[in-house]
Symmetry: C2
């Protein structure tokens, strides 16, 4: 077949197009100022030139340590546009973790927030060859870099070339660098546009950090449509509500934790126009869904991993669900769902890679492949081979496949509890707990038991002003779960230990449980 | 770069996904009946199996001669799903033209409407090896083919493999077969979804023939979103209005001629909910735009060619246009516009492939390239090389580039009139004529003139019940055009000669003008 008309797929093209077509539209709103697409494009070409002048060569890795400021968006085009590879680091990690990622990726340059200066100084002491650090802010080095070196025409890369390396949160072991290609990012962005219904009049609020899977590809998708990025220097529920009420926001993404903060904020009032909210990281609880509905936040639940360019599955709303009770709807919306339109069918398989029965009961591991799945871990062929055994990426997530083809998570492979020979999904037990109106969050782990091998133990946080006692909660859960799944212990805590990405650190809870085996609520 | 996660782009994937996710949603509405996505998928697998059983092998060409019936949509998946190549023929061509296309493509099978029987018998007499003909209809051979051979799991082709060959209308010379790949079709469909704002609740009315560039990729795009295809056995303005009023239609596509028929139909009334209408083939006239607005048909003007998977440019509405007068808006909306989000930048070049100035005045030829441009003409390397000279596809369309980056057609390369050394755009003269309320359509050609070399001559059709005399019309046009552009002759006709695709056949007008040089209105 003649490949005459084959041009490479790259999200850089989206910016180039919007810089022409939507030149006078607002690309970025930030702290009351705005930047047009024409200006954004100029900035990107200038930053690309500045990076080159600062010694960044094609193929180099350029890391970021930035909140959702305009520079972070610029770098999503300027770094690949200079032929380099973006390494967006989570600002909430420790200096040791940053040092590890900088060392492992071999980043030659870091663009960072000034507030990270002490932090980066510490990280640099761990590195044999510390990267050049460019700080962002008024009259900063970044601004000089964006003005002093003219403009660089953005490169047109091979579509299979590396665009970004996104490190996993590493709840266990070292973070691994999931590699994203230009092709994968381009297709994922087109998938986001279709699933989120983005159009030119959309305004996207940057509540989700761009360092999470390149902001779930909204960095590129919003740009492609010539829509508005509303950037945020930091997350502040009051400020977010102000923007939701006054700034024409149409879309935002968030982890349930962040959404809970929004829903519980004193500023929360039902919006005049509904806003589409995409939630991922863990399933939204029934009470959160109910509250969001009151506020006119139209929730869609997504599922994905750092290794899958962020969400690659969507709990697509089925018309037949309209007739279900709110409780049943909430249960259905908590499913991880189905692959998006650019996603290969998601499978749930047994240890021999055979598809488990789609009966809503049989449990297997979720495996994926396709253009929006990482091409592997950077500089880690062993971990890559292991993750891709059988040719599919192994998520480590255990799930059932419902008869309607929707996937529902049961547990992390390493979190499942085996009690008296029965599998207990910690997620199922957690969902039963958070169904109680007084409970905000719950985490369940397995603890050793002489008779059953393992039994479930729960840690719960309770809503301010609410009270619930142990007996009442056990009774509540006992009406929803088989007896063997009901926690043998429930511990009321003020906060759950979490990773920098907001995931509950069950290993911390397990260590705590081991250290104080007699602890009773 | 590791290509582990590279899976082929193909629109077949869209149907497979919708068959799972949207299994119980209506895929096709047709004459009051409906078909779910699950059922459509089963039908497609059955037709694919039936084609194989009928002797169709991988790589074979399967032609169609069908209106917008469900079978035509099925074949858009079943033919490539069987590993074969689709050749959708225009039902309005002559038997000789069909014979040429069947012979040139080497189609081994034709799926056809029963009403084409006599016609195909004639065509077959021209062919050394007539293809097998499968007729569609109740208890037809097609239905047997769809039931007797079980189901064929659809093939996963290489993304650069040939999916469809779409023959040009061939106003001059023989039709040429523009080749479409799976990759191109997949990306074009994603572009349609983004530009048209298709979502799962959309309902697309099949007023545009699917044999035109595979229905401008809506065959695949609507399917991808799990939206509804409303099929039509034939075009009937009354029936279309009934569906627009009662059937929840959200989108349709049409040539201006068809849209004019709709807008002038006695059934036309302002719709309760606006419908998005995509118009291509030629620019909509100001009076048509005004009438469409009254009817709540929200028009977007598109531009493309058989060689570009249908429309690859869109006259994207600019917010600043809101403040312009209706007349100015109509003028702006008649532009061909800018490439869609999956399109490489469109260029307007001189004969040395240098970009002309973006001044709205300088004229050059539109050239394109990229994934939604044909990979070449089937079995015609000479025409392919000529069309792609300089590495870009040459449209044969002359245009200006406006300072805002929007392209506007001035003429077909072969239609431009050179009068006293000045270029006269026949399109510009035609637009000046149709701006008159009494004029429906106008076509302008150059006729020989001793003094000026060439001068413009116009053919116009007049609205029923309206009257306009020559002097009045010349006066009207004289206020809008430079003196040398005003037609020296205007002929009032009842109908303009058109190709099967609805394009005015200027060569017929030129022949007529030569045959009757003294004709005066």
């Amino acid at each position: 077949m003649d490949r005459r008309s084959r041009t490479p797929l790259s999200p850089i093209r989206f910016l180039e197009r919007s810089a022409g077509v939507w030149r006078d539209r607002v690309a970025i709103g930030f702290e009351g100022t705005s930047t047009t697409y024409e200006r954004l494009f100029e900035r990107v070409e200038r930053v690309a030139a500045g990076l080159r002048a600062a010694g960044v060569e094609e193929g180099d890795r350029v890391a970021t340590l930035l909140p959702n400021v305009p520079a972070m968006l610029e770098l999503h085009f300027a770094v690949p546009g200079a032929g380099a590879v973006l390494v967006p680091m989570n600002t909430r990690l420790s200096a040791t973790e940053h040092a590890y990622i900088l060392g492992h990726s071999g980043a030659t340059c870091v663009v960072a927030d000034r507030e990270m200066r002490d932090h980066l100084d510490t990280a640099s002491t761990h590195l044999a060859r510390p990267p050049r650090i460019v700080y962002v802010g008024d009259s900063s080095e970044y601004e000089r870099l964006a003005t002093d070196s003219g403009r660089l025409p953005l490169v047109t890369p091979d579509e299979d070339a590396l665009l970004s390396i996104n490190y996993t949160s590493g709840t266990t072991g070292k973070p691994k660098g999931a590699m994203y290609t230009h092709r994968g990012a381009y297709l994922q962005a087109l998938g986001v546009i279709a699933e989120a219904g983005l159009d030119t009049s959309s305004a996207y609020l940057w509540s989700l950090p761009m360092f999470h899977c390149n902001g779930w590809a909204y960095t590129w998708a919003v740009t492609a449509m010539g829509a508005r990025h509303e950037c945020l220097g930091g997350f502040n529920a009051a400020e977010v509500w102000r923007l939701l009420k006054d700034s024409g926001i149409t879309h935002l993404c968030a982890a349930p934790t962040v959404l809970t903060m929004l829903a519980e904020a004193p500023e929360a009032v039902p919006l005049k126009r509904p806003v589409r909210v995409f939630v991922g990281g863990s399933p939204p609880s029934p009470s959160l869904l109910a509250r969001a509905r009151e506020l006119r936040l139209r929730i869609t639940h997504l599922y994905g991993l750092t290794e899958t360019y962020g969400p690659l599955a969507v709990c697509a709303w089925r018309p037949s669900w309209e007739e279900d009770s709110p409780a049943e709807q909430a249960r259905l919306q908590a499913r991880q769902g189905v692959g998006t339109i650019v996603t290969e069918p998601i499978r749930v398989v047994d240890s021999d890679m055979r598809d488990i029965a789609a009966d809503g009961v049989s449990i297997g591991e979720i495996v994926m492949r396709g253009n929006n799945v990482t091409s592997g871990y950077y500089r880690d062929p062993v971990a890559t081979e292991r993750a891709f055994s059988g040719g599919w990426f192994h998520s480590g997530d255990l799930a059932v496949m419902h008869p309607d083809g929707y996937v529902e998570l049961r547990d992390r492979l390493k979190d499942i509890i085996i009690s008296g020979g029965e599998n207990i999904s910690t997620i199922e037990v957690e969902q039963a707990l958070v169904a109680h109106a007084a409970v905000i969050e719950a985490a369940v782990i397995g603890v050793a038991d002489e008779r059953w091998g393992e039994v479930p133990k729960a840690f719960v946080t309770v809503r301010d002003g609410s009270t619930v006692d142990l007996t009442e909660l056990l009774d509540f859960v006992g009406q929803r779960l088989a007896r063997f799944k009901v926690p043998k212990e429930i511990e009321f805590v003020t906060e759950l230990p979490k990773t920098a990405t907001g995931k509950v650190q069950k290993f911390v809870l397990r260590a705590a449980a081991l250290g104080t085996p007699e602890s009773q609520p």
